[in-house]
Symmetry: C2
Subunit: 321 residues, 2 copies
């Protein structure tokens, strides 16, 4: 792979300019790429540039930028015109989780890019192999799933679909190391991939606890935050079991697995939130309620937290992997 | 509750001097209590004092101590004689997760303490109501479940059994606030309580991913560490959903819950570890392998991480609770 040493000279496209899309785009800018950002709908352009500037400033405050913010903005082009993607080696799709919308986006990308262009989806819900059926060059299609804020987390899930070329996956993994990510490589394309499977197993169980009246929402949040939150940044869960000495786990698995929730339907509390049009901190209505001021203070504090946890994690690389 | 303002003058007992027991004992010393530590078996005394000193030094380095380490050691008495518990207002049991052993311990505690003495168990696997059947004063029996290191986490789960007096629970909650904990209160006594239910739902799912050959152990560990590890110290999971804007969750629940693992048996990989007598970092054999040097370096680094994550979390109290 002769491009290995010069990844940053590649031009990369991002389609979809929501919170996640601009966050990915900023990560790519910070890694030195020239980036084309495409708004699939004119309305998607609203606020996108403001958010990008604010995210770049956030990265600057965390000491992640080698150049001034203006340098990175100079390497960015936002447009509604898919033809601007024509020189891109990779196009990252980051639009809503609806197959028909994504398929439409892939058609437009294929129309304006070379056969060698790799299309990556940020989906965390739809199988790559399913989306792959609707693209022109399936061997060049892959999953690259980011975590927010993309420019300040090491997380990345790379997922191969049934028709993805092994070389495409290898190239994407090499590229992602140049972004200073710690990619997880999923060879089989399971629904939800790794992190989401694990997180949604928690979601399912916590809704069961709530709806059975066993503990309050606040207490469920506190419990996980103050337990897992005190070690998960340092180690994964297999390693956590090793650290605890492994002795009681078999016994507890035996007692507890049969008690866990196995439901396959959307919990009533979640259904209700959707009916009430709750958008969380976006409109102040969610599992909790927020005034505009509270939501803003919360986001501001999270930005600063992100910065600190990122730096803390960097001090503790794996000792044994 | 007249004792409210003077909790620290209370004498507290801890039965069981394993890693968790000494860690709890150190937390109680740091909160100002006089502490009686009981070794249920003579061998339990081995290494206990060394570990307590090392944990107190750890707390000192983190700036948690008002007095010198020697002051706290002067307020500690280790013994094999349960009669030393006679002045204790609360006795925390922290022995292995076997009902018959715990029952024997409660008998000995009851024999030497007053009717008003509260007995708390640190179990995370056995229902409080079940253990409660075997104590002399069930209304005075409760679950207090700690996280390691107990003196440097805010986590605490307080669980009422079917026969626990409401006043006992209230008193324990007040006491735990004086320890600067953020207790979760579980009114119904469900197996596994809150955090363990949530964590074991993750364990179940991650073993399924591993055993289906979908991702490697290392990649599963990386995925959860680098995703959840970048935000869980800041917020619980209901709040995380609010932060992400809630929009795709119903859809994903609908698609994903039915794909999650529902097994009720111990996974083969776990069975195998038990057969191989793996004790994780304690004997270098676990999901990963460790030399003595690696295990020591890992524990040392975790101590320093604990200290930093504890201070980081303290800077970000709840904004909206």
């Amino acid at each position: 792979m002769k491009e290995n040493n010069n990844f940053s000279s590649l031009e990369i496209g991002v389609v979809g300019l929501g919170l996640m899309g601009t966050s990915i785009l900023v990560s790519l800018l910070v890694s030195g790429h020239k980036v084309i950002g495409i708004a699939p709908l004119p309305a998607d352009m609203d606020g996108a540039m403001d958010r990008i500037e604010s995210q770049l400033n956030h990265a600057a405050e965390a000491g992640l930028l080698k150049e001034a913010v203006s340098h990175y903005l100079g390497r960015l082009h936002l447009s509604e015109d898919y033809n601007k993607l024509k020189h891109c080696r990779l196009v990252q799709e980051c639009v809503t989780e609806v197959i028909s919308i994504k398929t439409e986006v892939y058609k437009k990308i294929n129309k304006h890019t070379a056969a060698s262009t790799i299309i990556a989806t940020n989906t965390s819900a739809i199988p790559i192999s399913e989306l792959q059926e609707n693209v022109k060059f399936p061997s060049q299609f892959i999953g690259i799933h980011w975590a927010e804020p993309a420019y300040m987390t090491r997380f990345l899930e790379v997922t191969k679909g049934a028709l993805t070329d092994e070389k495409t996956a290898e190239w994407v993994l090499s590229l992602s190391y140049s972004w200073k990510k710690e990619p997880t490589y999923l060879k089989k394309d399971i629904r939800g991939f790794v992190t989401n499977r694990m997180l949604y197993a928690v979601y399912r169980e916590m809704f069961a606890i709530l709806e059975n009246g066993e503990a309050s929402m606040e207490d469920i949040d506190k419990a996980f935050r103050y337990d897992a939150g005190s070690w998960i940044t340092y180690m994964g869960l297999f390693k956590r079991m090793d650290q605890l000495g492994l002795s009681d786990f078999k016994e507890i698995f035996d007692n507890l697995f049969k008690e866990l929730d196995n439901s396959s339907t959307v919990p009533p509390t979640m259904q209700e939130i959707v009916i009430q049009k709750g958008k969380g901190i976006n409109n102040g209505k969610g599992f909790y309620n927020y005034t505009k001021k509270e939501a803003a203070a919360w986001e501001e504090a999270f930005k600063s937290f992100n910065h600190e946890i990122f730096q803390l994690a960097a001090q503790y690389p794996e000792l044994n992997q």
